[in-house]
Amino acid sequence: MAGHGDDAPRGRDEAIVAARFARAHRVRRAEIAFWLAAFATLLVLPRQALIGNEIAIIALFALSLDLILGYAGIVSLGHAAFFGLGAYAAGLFARHVNADPLLGLGVGAAAAGVLGLATSALVLRGADLTRLMVTLGVALLLSEVANRAAAITGGADGLQGIVMAPLFGRFAFDLTGRTAFAYSLTVTFLLFLLARRIVHSPFGASLRAIRDNRLRAAAIGVPVTRRLVAIYTIAATYAGVAGALLAQTTQFVSLDVLAFDRSADVLLMLVIGGAGWLYGGPVGALVFKVAQEVFSGLTPQYWHFWIGLALVVLVLVGRDRISALARDAVAALADLRGTRAARGGGSRSVPP
């Protein structure tokens, strides 16, 4: 009898929880608009395909950092390690084994994922500072390896002579970059959907619990270590895919895929767009790239100055406030569209 009394509320709780997860996972109109706009640039702005390709790639890279920083609270200064490894793995694979893009993508992803799994033990221990140091150390170590192993990686000259086979045997990677852009954007989109599924699942909720309070999360039975290892590996794989995309679409890998600047830049992008929010990465990447184009047009050599200034101002103003601003703007846009649609519908229903 007592068991019966217990069961009914538990069933109701589960239903409530399930409903909450479903609501969080519901696709919003603004999201559809965002991705439609992204794919529309393929047709509308074909001349910007090269930069579009870059934006799609760094958006994926920023998304991958968001998974660990925004959702699991792991600060990393060496995320470029996975990006770079993915790039070199895909580049070397295309050069020496098989030039098929999709196979190469898998190889890049697997290489970075394995590295992520192997180094995840390093980020589990210690405080933020230790994590910063260790992640930075891993990236520096890899960059040193790539620099020294010039016979394999081409060293400071970069890995040259990558020739990709056409995608699906039909679409060649040409100089206009349209195939490249479509390819990168599609891969980014698919992985974004997967990430969306991940963060809105109970697994994602447990990650946020760990981020907010590790001790309490462990106390309510979240297997903290295993969850962190899992998300770190997933994020590393994502970064590896982004690196592989860069290697394949530019058909070149240079040492700067592993550089400290790249880790710092991706952190900045994510912060501009807002961490802990799936669109933070893509939006940040877009803003960052456009700003880079503008500033490096003004002063080609010194554009890092403006990036630095942006960072300082961003932190002083408060990054929560800025990402909240971005979020509000998106919400306001969605509202605007909603009211306009309603008004439009209303006017049509009114007889002249």
Partner: protein
């Protein structure tokens, strides 16, 4: 062999002077200041400018480099850094990386990207031969200067009233404040002195480490290693860590040049794996 050891010690002591300010910043305010190298660079460039444009002798430049960097540190601390003490580490990192980027680009713009050279006075260049061991005069000078600095710092920290307040504040900021210690002021002074020491280190190290606009980025990892491996509990930890790092780096580059900086990074990761709080941290 002994020459390498000697060079390593000189290098390590230099690293200590460069990084000691950072260890206090981290220990006292828990502020991850990646821009520490920018103050060192400021000191280096002040020296270069004073020597080449105004003909100031090298020795006179050293205190000026200290003062310039300390002033810069004090101004930035009062205006910018202090607003961020209570923010999460990510904010510290972003803010200080921003400062580094700005410093690198600004110096590049003002001074050009080439390596800057300092002409040492003749009595500091060349080598001495002491009992069959070749010793660079400048390195001997470095060891002497940095050695004196280490002793002075240790005495200041352990014997003066200011040192007592500083140690109390590092141990427990809240209790120290409760006891009436002006923690903010103590920290402002310490930050300025730490930046000044970095500036002095930059001036001293321009000859050995090289000086170009990427200096803060190139040596950031070294400073961080000294501090994280040495811990923030006192001067002894960072000092030992700096010496070990200096000797290991010089010896590594001499004996296995093909490995490059590999040895150091691996060592750092290994140490942090075993002792995440640093080698000399006290258990709290």
């Amino acid at each position: 062999m002994l020459t390498i050891l000697f060079d390593g010690v000189a290098y390590g002591m230099l690293l200590f002077v460069l990084a000691v300010g950072l260890s206090v910043t981290l220990g006292l305010m828990n502020f991850v200041n990646l821009a520490h190298g920018a103050f060192a660079m400021a000191g280096g460039y002040v020296t270069v400018l004073l020597m080449s444009r105004f003909g100031v002798p090298f020795l006179a430049c050293l205190p000026l480099a200290f003062l310039a960097a300390a002033l810069l540190g004090a101004v930035l601390e009062r205006t910018l850094y202090r607003r961020l003490y209570d923010r999460p580490h990510l904010d510290h990192v972003l803010f200080s990386i921003g400062l580094v980027f700005m410093a690198v680009a600004a110096i590049d713009y003002a001074m050009g990207s080439q390596q800057q050279n300092i002409r040492l006075p003749s009595w500091l260049s060349g080598r001495l031969d002491v009992m069959g061991v070749g010793i660079g005069r400048y390195r001997a000078f470095l060891i002497a200067t940095c050695g004196v600095l280490v002793v002075v710092l240790q005495l200041a920290l352990s014997r003066t009233r200011f040192g007592v307040r500083l140690r109390a504040a590092v141990d427990d900021r809240r209790v120290a404040r409760g006891l009436g210690i002006p923690v903010d002021r103590v920290f402002a002074v310490t930050f300025a002195v730490g930046s000044g020491l970095a500036g002095l280190g930059g001036a001293l190290g321009a000859e050995i480490l090289g000086l170009d606009p990427t200096f803060p980025l190139k040596f950031m990892i070294y400073f961080l290693i000294v501090v994280t491996v040495g811990g923030t509990a006192g001067l002894v930890g960072p000092f030992v860590a700096a010496l070990v790092l200096g000797i290991a780096d010089v010896a590594g580059k001499y004996y296995v040049p093909s490995l490059g900086a590999f040895v150091i990074y691996t060592l750092m990761i290994a140490i942090l794996l075993v002792r995440p709080q640093g080698l000399f941290a006290r258990v709290r």
